[in-house]
């Protein structure tokens, strides 16, 4: 039981971070497809950062900066060249994969997987056998701060206005692309943190480390109805489901390839069920 809870919490941490960041871009009116890439690049650079500086904080900061730089590139190219955000998002994912494998190849001479020995571990403490990491606490605090930011700060309200009615922003003389840029930088910050957690918790970087978490993040927002209040329960649903699938992997002898597919099957089911509910609700309202 304890291991189930521990697994749930360890899966919840990155999902919560990613979906909080993605929610900000979603409210600004852009579907952020680049979450995977933003997570991946930070996962690599934060673990390299930790191994060089020997400090978790500095390493995480390096990872977060790398992912914020990528988010900046994505947002700037999209707005300056008037490109399709969706395609540039895919390009960002591809770019992140490329940068990561080229970096690991030129530094460590492997294509993707790097294991670090004697790496500083992230600090955990346990309450009654349940391990709680600093990352989890920080991500919960950040969720609360984001709630305050989106509802009470001028920038947060501008971001939401940008998604609801971009023309009203323009009539107030506020730049839409600048507002979106801020949203993307915030999203980059959160994905960066999620990436740091993934690689530092694992003690190594592996190719495809984000393993679809960016996409699950998008579906979490969908499940929460783009409302930050429901973000934590929605993320928790996915974390529990994935922890359960790991748990059942241990006690049944399903082939590993099939077990790997289970989180996606679950995500797909949730996506379809929610869209049916939304559709029926709209039908009644009409």
């Amino acid at each position: 039981m304890n291991s189930l809870i521990n697994n749930t919490l360890s899966i919840l941490t990155p999902l919560l971070l990613i979906s909080t960041g993605a929610l900000v871009t979603d409210l600004a009116g852009s579907l952020n497809i680049a979450l995977e890439g933003l997570v991946t690049i930070s996962a690599l650079f934060s673990i390299i950062g930790v191994s060089i500086t020997n400090s978790i904080v500095l390493g995480t900061l390096i990872g977060i900066s790398s992912s914020m730089i990528l988010a900046y590139i994505l947002s700037t190219i999209t707005s300056k060249l008037k490109a399709n955000i969706f395609i540039t998002g895919l390009a960002t994912n591809l770019l992140a994969t490329g940068i990561c494998s080229v970096t690991t190849f030129s530094i460590y001479n492997t294509r993707g997987n790097v294991k670090f020995e004697n790496l500083k571990a992230i600090s955990k403490f346990s309450i009654g056998g349940i391990e709680i990491t600093l990352f989890l606490i920080v991500s919960l605090i950040l969720l609360a701060l984001t709630y305050v930011f989106l509802n009470m700060s001028a920038t947060g309200l501008r971001i939401r206005a940008c998604g609801m009615d971009p023309h009203s922003l323009k009539s107030y003389g506020i730049s839409r692309s600048r507002t979106k840029l801020i949203a993307f930088l915030i999203s980059g910050f959160f994905c960066g943190m999620a990436g740091s957690y993934l690689s530092l918790n694992l003690g190594s970087y592996v190719a495809g480390i984000s393993s679809g978490k960016g996409w699950i993040g998008l579906v979490i927002i969908y499940l929460a109805g783009s409302n930050i209040k429901y973000l934590l329960p929605a993320a928790l649903t996915f974390a529990v489901a994935e922890a359960l699938s790991i748990y059942y992997q241990g006690i049944t002898n399903l082939p590993p390839d099939i077990v790997l597919a289970l989180p996606s099957v679950f995500t797909l089911l949730v996506m379809v069920i929610v869209s049916i509910i939304v559709y029926k609700k709209n039908l009644v309202q009409r």
Binding site: G98, I258, V272, Y279
Partner: protein
């Protein structure tokens, strides 16, 4: 006159994108390689340096062209099929299984394999189509998620029930009848001729038939199409089925032409490349031919560079991503809807 001007801008934009991506390749070679000139020579001249490399370059165009065409069909009516990875892979598996089962029939087994690949992948894409039509579920996210599931299941099928016990590879049984080789010793087969024929036929369908017209109209303006009496749901479904089917063919041709057996995760990355190719083709079915050639050249060139110098072929990923960044730019290319 206006149209000509726009085309001129588009052409300039494409040239800008291609030259930018080539510049990036040069910069990467100088940054990462000990012998940058040798690397660059391998990348740019390598694919043309002998018949073997040139044939392989042309050969790797086949799945890219067909997959790109699949993306393009859906794109024309405003749909995004993100499930190409899984559709190509599963189509390839079905093609290999069916071509193997029916190899008693001789060369007809090739056709049976291709049809099986077409049908299964069009079914897979059709699932996303049904949910889009019935409940307005984003086809982009469902097709991607289905593709992840399909990829895992295909991995399982290849490594367990359908694995050929006679080889050390994790692969299905090798089929007996395959397309004829041309340009030996390279891997190029007559598949490239069939692929080009498919492109020409599809160009005809998209530009000169009722389905093509309706597909285009729904993409231009959904509401207008609805007023015109076009069934949007039917068009969405047909478009999605055709899109998936073409991905299945892409996988199928890889089997009956190049590999003869479905090897575990052999098609990884093809689906994403197909998206880029459809976008560079600028919504023109014939455009997938040069677009696929450009991609195949860079892929083959970086592979040769990896064999001859100390550089990873993954630099191709960076170049491809730069192309993707720029291909939808209205500033560079104008509005090409």
């Amino acid at each position: 006159m206006m149209k000509k001007l726009k085309n001129n801008k588009t052409l300039k934009g494409i040239l800008t994108i291609i030259s930018l991506s080539l510049i990036i390749l040069v910069v990467l070679a100088f940054l990462l390689s000990d012998e940058p000139l040798l690397t660059l020579n391998a990348i740019f001249v390598g694919p043309l340096s002998n018949l073997y490399y040139f044939g392989n370059t042309l050969n790797s165009m086949i799945p890219l062209m067909l997959g790109g065409l699949g993306i393009l069909v859906a794109l024309k009516c405003g749909l995004m099929n993100l499930g190409g990875e899984g559709q190509i892979y599963l189509g390839a598996l079905f093609a290999s299984i069916f071509a193997y089962k029916f190899q008693g029939l001789g060369y007809i087994s090739i056709v049976i394999g291709l049809i099986a690949g077409f049908l299964i992948s069009s079914l897979i894409a059709g699932i996303s189509g049904i949910f889009k039509v019935k409940y307005n579920t984003s086809e982009m996210i469902t097709s991607y998620l289905i593709s992840v599931v399909v990829t895992s299941i295909t991995n399982y099928l290849i490594s367990s029930p359908y694995k050929d016990p006679k080889t050390n590879l994790v692969a299905t049984s090798k089929i007996k009848y395959m397309l004829h080789d041309i340009l030996l010793p390279s891997q190029l087969t007559t598949g490239i001729i069939y692929a080009v024929i498919i492109i020409i036929v599809l160009n005809r369908i998209l530009n000169h038939t009722r389905f093509g017209y309706e597909n285009r109209m729904v993409g231009y303006n959904k509401e207008f199409a609805r007023y015109g009496g076009i069934s949007i749901n039917k068009t969405y479904m047909l478009s999605m089925l055709l899109s998936g089917g073409l991905h299945g063919l892409a996988g199928g041709f890889a089997i009956v032409g190049t590999y003869g057996t479905a090897i575990k995760s052999f098609s990884s990355g093809m689906g994403w490349n197909a998206i880029a190719i459809a976008l560079i083709a600028l919504n023109n079915p014939l455009g997938v031919i040069p677009a696929a050639f450009f991609f195949a050249w860079i892929n083959q060139g970086t592979l040769i560079a990896m064999q001859t110098t100390n550089i990873t072929s993954d630099i191709a990923l960076i170049v491809q991503s730069c192309i993707l960044f720029l291909t939808t730019s209205v500033v560079l290319l104008g509005d090409n809807k």
